[in-house]
Amino acid sequence: MINTGTFKYSRVILVFVTVLLVFLIIVISAIFSQHKEMMEEIRHDAQRELELIGSFTQGALLRQDYASVETFLTQWAHDHKEILSLKAVAPNGFELVNVTRDSLSEATFNLHQKVSYEGRELIDLEMTKDMSPVQEGMVKLSVPLVLGSILLVVIIGAVLWFAMKKLALVPMEKELALREQAEKKFRILLESAPDSLVLVNKDGTIYMVNGQTEVLFGYRREELEGQEVQLLMPERFRERHKKFTEQFSESPKSRPMGHNLELFGLTKDGREFPADISLSPVETEEGSFILSAVRDISERKNAEEKIRRSFHFQAAISSILNISLEPVQLEIQLQRILDAILAIPSLSLESMGCIYLVEEIPDLLVMKANRGLPDSIKSGCSTVPFKECLCGEAASEGKVLFAECTDRRHKTEVHTSQEKPHSHYCVPIISGDKTLGVINLVVKEGHKKSEDEENLLKSIANTLAVTIEHNRSDLERQKLQEQLSQVDKMSALGRLTANVAHEIRNPLTLIGGFARKLNKDIAEGTKDKEFATIIIDEVSRLEKILTNVLTYSRETPVHRERHNIKDVVEESLKPFKDKFEKKSIVIASELNGTPEVMMDRDQVREVFNNILSNALDSMADGGMLTISCAPELIKSRKYMAVHFRDTGEGSLKIISKLFLSPSIQRRS
């Protein structure tokens, strides 16, 4: 099924010829080896021959039958053509026999035999033998043998080739063609699979992969085939995987891999990805294999994670909303909301964080709730001005800020060295264009910020903003109710006072009238005169008080008309002109070009009268009163503000602002 390839005759022929050549070489080697052995045997025989000659010679010499020795050796040398030389030399140097045959042969060998008896040297035998006839004979024998071997090999080869071709190669070729087709189908199937398919043998060696594997893992298939399959998984799984492979090979059956385990693949560039892997045993003629189908489930995992996080986020927001609806103090709500945020599992939080709010002092964050923070941070970071540290930065920018603790913007003087490395989420709490506070969350080291996290935290911050605004508007409402109640009380009191003042005014007028009349009649310097004067002054003071009380408590309708501010100011200054001159107070008016605005002229004049009166009182020793006017934006509405600056006690400044809108509001 696998690795069939195209059947190539050339390879088979090459192998076949190689085998025949090897066989031929072996045969020829055997022949030459035999030759060598024969040469050795011949040499050995020659030695034995010389020994026998020696034995005979010894016997003859001991019998002093020299002639027999001479005759025998000479005859022997003559009879044996291969003996080139045979010498029998007596101890005295006499050559008893010296038969030498001329020869040009170089294939000779010498033998030597000393014949002695009981230590007495009898004769020395030397024999030179010519091997060339033997060699020639062997060559003559070898040539037909070698040629015969070649012929035999050729004949056997031809017969075997035709037999093999008919009996084996042709059926094999058909079989291979079938296998090739099957292989092609298998390949197509393999390559068309949407998953990465990895065929592994029992030892865990990758045998084959498809194109999806190249795409998924980033390897070329040549790089993978022959490698261990553990290459495709993170290091921490490799050792365990080898055992699993052995277990699977012992009882192979199709099943998903890593039941109840999260599996990961490892790409060539070192990226890990979650994977679904299913295993199938594959039995082939080449042995048992394991087919692994690997699918990258990163997207699914991400989607699941998103869903999970979304669930957590929704649950958190729901919890925060519930808390915000609880009728408790804002601080308690903030603490509970902080706890709810820290309990969100998907945020990799360190169970540490705090919530800052902006209170009376603008641009200053005040820690209102915290959890898990060290005391040093609780005290050191209890207030954070805008633009300072991470939280101040987030508050001033109005953007979510994610930074590691080593970020340069992070003020570290209040942090201790024992703190683990971490990161921060600083989320501004914004309502409209106003920053209400900041949520500061400590995140585990290595956590990467994500858009959905930011969105969640923004949602929480928005919820928190609503909660804070709601809470604050409740307080405002309570204050207003209290103020309204106070106004009602004051109104009733005013009405009561007016009635009382009205009732007192007539008798007081009578008292004052009678007192002034009596005063005229009382002589100067007397005690009565002094008493009468006191009565008159006190009555005058009471009349003024009553006049003011009656003026304050009087409810008059508002008559709005377009008037120039400068005109109104100058009208108000007229009654005070003499008084200011007496007290050497200089009036500096900077009201040229002032526009006309809608106002209740009488009420504005009364306000101006009061301001000017106060200015007169405050500058008893003289000074300067500067009056100016400038436009001002308040809550996107344009107002005209009139500024009164004096140089009196405490450099008191009185400011009056007149609005272009139909209503006139006094500010001081």
Partner: protein, 287 residues
């Protein structure tokens, strides 16, 4: 009747066949009479058979008699066989002949060898070239090699010469019988013996290999062929005629010995000088 007839016919045929066979056998024995040529063992038997093979074939052809060549085991046996007429033809050395006649009486002499044109030969007492022996007197205290005790030139005549010079066995360091002339020359050449006695032919053969002559023997009539004394005269004559009829320098002759040039007639008197020498060595003649 018919059976009787057939039986008598069968017996008659058998009798005829037996008679015919007996006649043929008797004729064959006469015509194919075998003779023996006995050679004394002065050389190894195989070499002697080779040397005398041409002569044997020649005599067989000439005489029409199948002649077999035999080699005696030793000189005593040879003399005995010849003396007791146990062989038809014999080849003898001169000393053996003298001993034969002395012991068994004369035998018909067929012919003697002529070597290099002379029917006489002589022996020589030899030593190695490097030897300090210059005369027979110097042999005293030296080792000496003789050939066969029956050999004319390797023992008997040299012994006579030594005796003449007063060199006895006792005055020699030792002496050995090496059975052949070649053994003597080779024994001297190999240094096993200081001196030895051989016939001149062998001396010349080996002289160049390191021999030197010390003394020469007197000439003695050459080797000879004798016939069985009981052999019919016509056979003796036929054999003598055959031997003497061999062409000079025929291969038959040179085969026996390289330098043999012819077969020449011989008489018993031709061996008298040897006989006189041997008489001085009575113990030798008795042996």
């Amino acid at each position: 009747m018919r059976l009787f007839m057939s039986k008598s016919f069968f017996v008659s045929c058998l009798a005829i066949l037996i008679t015919t066979f007996a006649f043929m056998h008797g004729h064959s024995a006469h015509a194919g009479q075998k003779m023996t040529l006995q050679i004394h063992p002065y050389l190894p038997a195989s070499e002697l058979l080779t040397r005398f093979a041409p002569l044997t074939r020649y005599l067989s052809r000439i005489t029409g008699t199948e002649i077999t060549c035999n080699i005696s085991k030793n000189y005593e046996e040879h003399i005995e066989k010849v003396g007791k007429n146990m062989v038809d033809i014999a080849y003898l050395g001169p000393a053996s002949y003298v001993k034969l006649v002395s012991k068994y009486g004369t035998k018909p002499i067929l012919a003697r060898l002529e070597v290099k044109g002379s029917p006489f030969f002589k022996g020589v007492i030899i030593t190695s070239k490097s030897s300090k022996i210059l005369s027979l007197d110097d042999l005293k205290g030296k080792s000496f090699a003789f050939g066969d005790p029956h050999s004319t030139m390797s023992y008997l005549v040299p012994l006579y010469m030594l005796h003449e010079k007063g060199v006895t066995y006792e005055s020699l360091e030792r002496h050995e019988f090496l059975n052949s002339h070649k053994n003597v020359v080779l024994g001297v050449l190999m240094g096993d013996f200081d001196a030895g006695a051989v016939k001149e032919e062998v001396y010349y053969q080996y002289r160049e290999r390191g021999l030197r002559d010390v003394a020469w023997t007197p000439e003695v009539s050459e080797h000879l062929f004798v016939a069985r004394s009981t052999l019919p005269q016509e056979s003796i004559e036929a054999l003598r005629k055959a031997l003497l009829g061999i062409q000079r320098k025929d291969v038959i002759l040179s085969s026996i010995k390289q330098d043999v040039t012819a077969m020449v007639p011989a008489r018993d008197e031709d061996y008298d000088n040897l006989r006189s020498i041997l008489l001085t060595l009575p113990q030798q003649l008795e042996r």
